[in-house]
Amino acid sequence: MNTTYWSWDRFFEALPFILDGLGLTIFLTISCFIFALVFGFVWTFLRRIPNRPFNWIVSWVMEFIRTTPPLVQLFFIYYAWPVMPLVGTTLSPVQSAILGLGLHYSTYISEIYRSGIESVEKGQWEAAQALNLSTLDKWRKVILPQAIPPTVPMLGNYFIILFKEVPLVSTISVAEILLLANTYGARNWAYLEPLTIVGIIFLLLSYPSSILIRKLEDRMNTRFDKNALAKSS
């Protein structure tokens, strides 16, 4: 029996070293997600401005962000942005990571918002108008409270996908768990245990979250089915 492939000693030595980066991974996931949630709204409302050329530009920019790989965007923001004339500023690795992933995911999230807003019945818009609500109140009190809740499971799915994309930022030297595992591997010339640990950490966190999301989805479905049933009667 050759036991040099897997060593539990190494496993337990690497574990605390890698877990050090877990906080940063979670922090990045949450910050990127919040950034994406906020910016998603910005995209959604920019696209609703009734001006054809402006609309065309916004859609094109969104399409560009969505169809280029996030890794390229991260590299661009971290390595190329600082040397841009006039607008270029140096961003820390963590800032670049939040900006890069957040911006990329905001375009997806904007689509989710849009689908939610479009699913609000025309009669609701008209009722809000007939009651003479201001534009702000119409959105705040009538449209968004109906548009956003049904999209929560979809948003949750994107949260998990985003979580799994965070290791990308190890390429711009953010010390999250994958980078630490790599560092440990390079230092001790042993990659099996640290990378296994990273896999386990992701499994342990994303699997329960995905179950949670599925439950949420079920609950939403029953709730909205009930509504649909009652509406048809």
Binding site: G123, Q124, E126, A127, N132
Partner: protein, 181 residues
């Protein structure tokens, strides 16, 4: 002889190639009740939607309490009304929709309270009291606190009363009182 409160002057409305209203002239006096009767597709709903400013007439004028709904004066000319003008004239018009269009994420009471609180900036407690009073009178005390899923199953006449209450709430008290008779 009082002046009519609502006047339609040669109002035409087309949806694309379909001409729905071909020059409507109509005067409605204060406190007058008017029924518009006609086969489906004849434009009854369009007449009321034009009054609620949900549709813009293709030509002609609609005048409510002396104010032209879709035109306003600017530098001596009559120009197309902007949102500000529309919001001003819409303040004293209420409408019950064919499908009521109550807000499903609110209770019936909240439905009736939204406009007075947010549009008229009225005191929340007063609005609540008034809304409850109206709902109890017109619908039933049972519906006041009930939520979406409950009222979805309510009889449509009850839902209509709720919708009526909601549309009357933001109007000026004298106007809304007249509608209760």
């Amino acid at each position: 002889m009082t002046a009519p409160i609502v006047q339609y002057r040669d109002v035409c409305k087309s949806f694309g190639d379909v001409e729905v209203l071909k020059g409507i002239n109509l005067d409605i006096n204060p406190a007058e009740k008017v029924a518009v009767i006609g086969p489906s597709g004849s434009g009854k709903t369009t007449i009321i939607r034009l009054l609620m400013t949900l549709e813009e007439p293709t030509s002609g004028d609609i005048i409510v309490s002396g104010e032209n709904l879709w035109k306003m004066e600017k530098n001596g000319d009559m120009v197309r009304a902007n949102e500000h003008h529309l919001r001003k004239v819409r303040g004293d018009i209420g409408m019950v929709f064919q499908h009521f269009n109550l807000f499903p994420h609110m209770t019936i009471l909240e439905n009736c309270m939204t406009a007075p609180i947010h549009v008229k900036k009225e005191n929340k407690e007063e609005v609540r009291k008034r809304a409850i009073e109206m709902l109890e009178k017109k619908a039933s005390s049972l519906v006041v606190k009930s939520s979406v899923s409950r009222w979805q199953g309510l009889l449509s006449c009850v839902r209509r009363s709720c919708s009526l209450t909601r549309s009357l709430q933001p109007l000026t008290p004298s106007l809304s009182a007249r509608c209760w008779k």
